[in-house]
Symmetry: C2
Subunit: 347 residues, 2 copies
């Protein structure tokens, strides 16, 4: 398997990205390959000599898209940026998986434009797995699609459910839709229409509305939501965990320094246990390939997790299962119903 990685993406690039690649190549199979994408003159000095670097190659991409650049515009202006070149490798089937910790918007746009969607998929969704005390919860979408239509959300349910089943090995995953109350009547129009669509698909284990607090309660395995809402959720979680741990630390330091020191390993353990980066970043689900977008702050460990997650995703043939599901007659019926009922679709 050939895994292409944006060597220049993220706050810790290229050092941590390359370190992650080097750590991984030792543990990958002999026929696995890593392709580092970025300026040759930057990457080469950070690699061991050709003979000892294993199956790692470099594809030159002199330009860089910054974390704050406007996604589509910067892709147009910089066709030789690492993200643009990375997506071309995916497009030309020169890579089986693409990984970047760079500008999320640019990654989504580039992967969608170049690698294209899986047959039947209308919009890809960014999918993250939250490790919770109740088990891993798969959330889609957390930022690819900020103007979701019911049919997109339905497809997120299908894709994330297949992912949950075949990647996380959760039998018959329970799907909830993020809303502002558990009751049927609650939610905006999109939520209400999506509910009708999902309910019509008897193969899905749909449990209805869920609320923000349910994420951490083990009440469902898959959560679908609009990318705007999902992104806010993701970042609120990040900010809160961070803020709370800092508050605990400060409070402990004021109370009793030796108690604070004793608490530190516990804190680290919890942090690791519930760090969604452990799952190797976010998957762009619905793309005709394997695409992982890592957090901007990714260290070598996250890149390594992403590399192995991409391998597992590829090996488990999750995309084939999505294509199969969506080409199934029952899905065609749902799409048909959607059209008949005048529910919006993009097609």
């Amino acid at each position: 398997m050939r895994i292409a990685i944006d060597a220049m993406g993220g706050d810790e690039a290229p050092k941590e990205i390359i370190a992650g690649a080097l750590e991984s190549i030792k543990e990958l199979a002999d026929n696995d390959e890593i392709i580092l994408v970025g300026p040759e003159d930057v990457i080469e000095p950070l690699l061991p000599p050709q003979k000892t670097r294993g199956n790692i190659s470099v594809v030159h991409a002199p330009d860089l898209i910054g974390m704050a650049d406007a996604p589509v515009e910067s892709l147009r202006k910089k066709p030789k940026s690492s993200i643009a070149v990375l997506s071309k490798l995916g497009k030309k089937n020169e890579a089986d998986a693409v990984i970047s910790a760079g500008n999320t918007g640019a990654c989504v746009a580039a992967f969608q434009m170049r690698i294209r969607n899986l047959p039947g998929v209308i919009r890809p969704g960014i999918t993250v797995v939250f490790p919770t005390p109740g088990g891993p919860v798969t959330i889609c979408d957390v930022g690819a699609n900020i103007a979701c239509k019911p049919i997109h959300l339905y497809q997120y349910g299908v894709m994330a459910s297949i992912y949950s089943k075949h990647f996380l090995k959760i039998e018959n995953p329970r799907i909830g839709i993020m809303s502002i109350g558990e009751e049927e009547a609650k939610g905006n129009e999109i939520v209400k229409k999506t509910r009708e669509l999902i309910k019509a698909d008897k193969k899905l284990n749909f449990i209805g509305n869920i609320e923000g607090r349910d994420i951490f309660r083990g009440s469902c395995d898959v959560i679908i939501c609009d990318g705007f809402v999902g992104n806010v959720m993701l970042k609120v979680t990040e900010g809160l965990v961070d803020g709370l741990f800092r508050a605990i630390k400060q409070e402990l330091m004021e109370e009793n320094i030796s108690l604070a020191l004793k608490f530190r390993p516990v804190m680290t353990r919890i942090y690791q246990k519930y760090d969604y980066n452990e799952y190797g970043g976010a998957l762009l689900l619905g793309i005709n390939g394997t695409a992982i977008i890592c957090h901007g702050s990714s260290q070598s460990k996250t890149i390594k997790s992403a590399i192995f997650a991409s391998k597992k995703f590829h090996t488990e043939k999750i995309n084939d299962k999505i294509i199969e599901y969506l080409s199934d007659s029952s899905f065609s019926n749902i799409t048909q119903n959607t059209k008949t009922q005048g529910l919006e679709t993009d097609e």
Copy 2:
């Protein structure tokens, strides 16, 4: 001041609600009054004898709207419910403030229908204050309006900013709009249009887009968002704090029980410090009166906080300041511009 309270609202009603009222009446001024709304035969036995109960009276309301009932429908079917009667007291100026820990949707609908909006306000917004390490952050809307238009969000900015300044005493509060990236280009159409509106009002201290993680970083004092997004944020926060504290407890118990016991007071202290219920629930800002909606799980302490928050809100004449701001010529200009530019308004 006359404060009317729904004695039947919330999971702990009527016991905790009445306890909160009894605790408060001792500390309120001699000319303050509390009116408990609910079935007389339920409330009376929980009150001390007439002579010793202080300025507490009961207004009979035999019916009850459940936490899961459909808001508007249940109000229509149950005109004698405690929420309906409460809102009528507010309407007829028989109460200066109304407080309920009952069905949020029903409260919003009833208060809006009966007490009506402040002159100039298009939509009221539910406003909560998050205590954060960086200071209190006022968030509007967290669930009243799940189909926000730019003009609503702009007004939330105005109202929450006035609240932050005069209630929380924050000088020149920094207003951020919740989006999915800090950069100008990011956000959905509503966010982008709202930004234009707010920027046009030079009296507001608008800092632009903020992200979910900024809530706890002290980067702004006021956050405006659509009620759907705000409600999800609020409940994610609740669920995460709860889940994290449980995880810490479990991890500590496994590691070392005596360490866990030592940690308990620290945990309680942090919980209290960062519990948004300490601010007495959520304010329905933009209503022509003082309306507070408390969490369904409210204990007597929260009800007491709500009572004193309603008194402060009333005494500080925050509504007058909102009316004054919105009737000011610069606001009229903005509304005018909104119309000219074809940005949606409800009017």
